[in-house]
């Protein structure tokens, strides 16, 4: 399946673009996605935290991803 991952803040700067297109096995977990991204972009592993959002809510490590999901990397938030 093809996944599009939106990137914000420091994650966008680390990757160098506002979104990533990846091909992954159907049902890949959030944890597997994060492991892959941290290998490809080691600076992501240096962040205080890195969450994944699926369809506008925080996902858990076990959440399975699907092709039409809206996926985003969420580096440490600092609003307010």
């Amino acid at each position: 399946m093809k996944l599009t991952i939106s990137l914000f803040g420091i994650a966008r700067e680390i990757v160098g673009q506002p979104a990533l297109e990846l091909t992954a096995p159907e049902g890949q977990s959030v944890q597997e996605l994060l492991t892959e991204l941290r290998q490809q972009y080691p600076a992501l592993g240096q962040l205080s935290s890195l969450a994944v959002a699926v369809n506008n809510d925080y996902a858990t490590d076990a959440t399975a991803l699907h092709e039409r999901d809206e996926i985003a990397l969420i580096p440490p938030v600092s609003g307010g």
Binding site: G9, S48, A53, N56, D57, G79, G80
Partner: protein, 138 residues
């Protein structure tokens, strides 16, 4: 409930009016503004970036949670800025109304504290000699 994310200056008076309610004896607000220094460095400006759709969704959830915790809440107003802000600019306003004051303080604090933990908005500080994404690194 009035939730907004805007690249325009926040009108504090208008926001407070949105929180007014005939059944409320208290309107309580928190206004977050841009400070001129951070960890000892002089701040020149800030850039706020938001994941708009998720930020709005999470702000609504935070307001709904407050409504569940304090069922007497009348109005909840949360407006957050995005884009470039300068010293003294208003970055966020939270305003709530309740029949009595105690719950208004508690609900207002709950909303701003939870917003800071969960809402996908990122602040980049610009100093005279560099930049930092706030809280990004341990």
């Amino acid at each position: 409930m009035h939730i907004d994310l805007t690249d325009q200056p926040i009108d504090i008076t208008a926001a407070l009016q949105l929180a007014e309610d005939d059944g409320a004896g208290a309107v309580n607000s928190f206004i977050g503004t841009v400070r001129n220094q951070s960890t000892g460095r002089r701040v020149v400006r800030l850039d706020y970036e938001a994941y708009d759709s998720m930020a709005l969704h999470q702000l609504r959830k935070v307001a709904e949670q407050a409504q569940e915790k304090w069922p007497m809440l009348r109005k909840v107003v949360v407006i957050h800025r995005k884009g470039t802000l300068h010293i003294g600019d208003v970055a966020v306003i939270v305003a709530v109304s309740t029949p009595h004051r105690a719950e208004s303080f508690a609900a207002c604090q709950y909303i701003i504290d939870t917003l800071k933990q969960v809402v996908p908005i990122w602040k980049k500080e610009f100093y005279e000699d560099g930049t930092t994404w706030v809280a990004a690194h341990p």
